[in-house]
Amino acid sequence: MKSFQTSLIKAMDENISISVNNLSKNYGKVSAIKNADFQIKKGEIVGLLGPNGAGKSTTMRILGGLLRADSGSATVCGLSVADNSLAIKRKIGFMQENNPLPEDLRVMEYLKLRAELKEVDSKKLSTEVRRVMDLCDLFRTARRKIIRSLSKGFKQRVGIADALIGSPEIIILDEPTIGLDPHQIQGIRKLIDSLRGKYTVLISSHILSEIERNCDRVIIINHGRVVAMGTKPELSEEFIKENHLRLQVSGNIESLITRLKSAKEDYEIKEEQSEQNDYSTIVIKSTEALDISDYTEIVNQISHCQLKGINLIKPDLEAIFLAATKRSWEEIRIKS
């Protein structure tokens, strides 16, 4: 029984790429991270979200072996970050915030240098550089260009290509889409999607829609604390207590509103019927589960009222993020 438990724990450990326990870091009197706890499984794409100064970059830099934590522990692929900073750098591809690159080098020169520094076998060096350039669509267009002359989007690609060199087990991307236009963001998104299943990826971003599309799981940090963690449905269940239903109706709306008032429904009229719109939009809010068929029946019961559309509004990541960070702010305010 004991050996079964040991092998189960070992199997669980082997399935975990990153483990952070009670991690804290202070800059003078300012606390950047306070007792952060989370784990990331192998092959997961996890988004790290938080307002500016929440501690995302500090967490990533500690995991990347660039910064030492004041207390707590972090392990990467089973290795302690504090004790094996060089060894863990062999297991992590790290693209830092603002992606600093040597401006005077050509893309190929830079990636070859990085491959050598990341201890890629000298016989496989050219093949590896070619592989990451192909993956990031740099080979045809930018391999001979001087980094200074590249657009922001291509510079980000060079940063991601650098992180992918040597096929590390974990890729950490700190704000990979910052300052990019929508086309470039789409390109980077496709690139990150292509990493799914091959690498464990930790991404921080301010663009919530990107995290929502790319990531399997989200960790929300606020004021140095992990305030929420989980898949989108798990987070919405935890943080979004109200259900929303959107009704698009035309005709006798007054009767419908009277009916909603008499039933003590909490509702909000989003759009009025006008010359442009031949219907009004009413959003019904409830802490109870909302059933589409019930409301279809209610509208059908009212004479001269036509139902144009009806759907449940699913909370997006922005709503979850705002709810999670608002709650943590309220907790901090109460404590202080």
């Binding site: 990347g64 910064l67 600093p100 040597p102 005077d104 990085r114 520094l117 201890e119």
Partner: protein, 254 residues
């Protein structure tokens, strides 16, 4: 060591694409050429006790003031300014390898520049071998002694440049700091010896101590073929100290 050689190659490449390297090299060759020509000219006017090559190398401190800052000011200050040190730190590279690679690349270029100046006596020897004695132009022992001194003191001068470059993000400030430190090291010791000449008895502990830090006096010994171990300890220990401090400086950047 694998990373060290990779980084040295990278640093040499960076030095060769940096304009200050070419400015330093051209100024160095022009100034040293002019100095050698002026020494030869004075030799034709007034009889000299010392050979041309000793007089030439005795002015080693003059090009050091601008060559070393120009070769080293960019090395760490620029990386700090562009935050590319952080990118280097994300690879499995020890920090001492980063500092040593920058040091060796600049040192190599510094030595190459000095070796190039050997063309001056060689050219003169070929052109004027009928008019002047060989010893007054190309004296092997003096050249070897002077070059050993140049190589040894160069370790300290380049270490000063690398250290001052790690103190700031501005290349200009790094260059100015380097010039100031070099001025104190090269001229300070000599001036201190002059200033205290009448106050301390020759051979006393203090006088010996002041002579020990006088870089110009070290050169005089080396050019006479005297290889004392004490200057080796002086230059190497301070250089190691400065390079260790540089490693600490860039460590605090992380």
């Amino acid at each position: 060591m694998r990373h060290f050689f990779t980084l040295v190659r990278h640093e040499i490449r960076l030095l060769f694409i940096a304009p200050p390297t070419y400015v330093a090299s051209v100024l160095f060759i022009l100034l040293m050429g002019f100095i050698y020509w002026a020494i030869l000219r004075s030799m034709t006017l007034v009889p000299q006790d010392t050979s041309a090559i000793t007089q030439f190398f005795s002015l080693f401190w003059l090009p050091v003031f601008f060559t070393v800052p120009l070769l080293t000011m960019r090395s760490i200050a620029e990386e700090k300014n562009q935050a590319t040190l952080q990118t280097l730190f994300s690879a499995p590279v020890p920090k001492y390898a980063i500092v040593l690679s920058k040091f060796f690349a600049a040192y190599l270029l510094y030595i190459i520049l000095w070796v190039l100046t050997l063309y001056f006596p060689l050219i003169t020897f070929n052109l004027l071998s009928d008019n002047l004695s060989n010893a007054s132009l190309v004296n092997a022992s003096e050249i070897i002694g002077s070059l050993i001194f140049i190589s040894l003191s160069g370790i300290l001068f380049i270490a000063i440049g690398i250290f001052t470059s790690s103190l700031t993000r501005s290349q200009l400030v790094a260059g100015m700091l380097c010039f100031t430190f070099l001025f104190i090291i090269c001229i300070g010791g000599q001036q201190l010896e002059y200033a205290t000449y009448n106050y301390f008895a020759q051979g006393s502990f203090f006088f010996e101590g002041i002579q020990y830090v006088n870089v110009i006096r070290h050169f005089e010994d080396f050019s006479l073929g005297i290889l004392d171990t004490r200057p080796f300890v002086f230059y190497l220990s301070i250089s190691i100290l400065l390079l260790s401090l540089t490693v600490n400086m860039i460590d605090s950047e992380a």
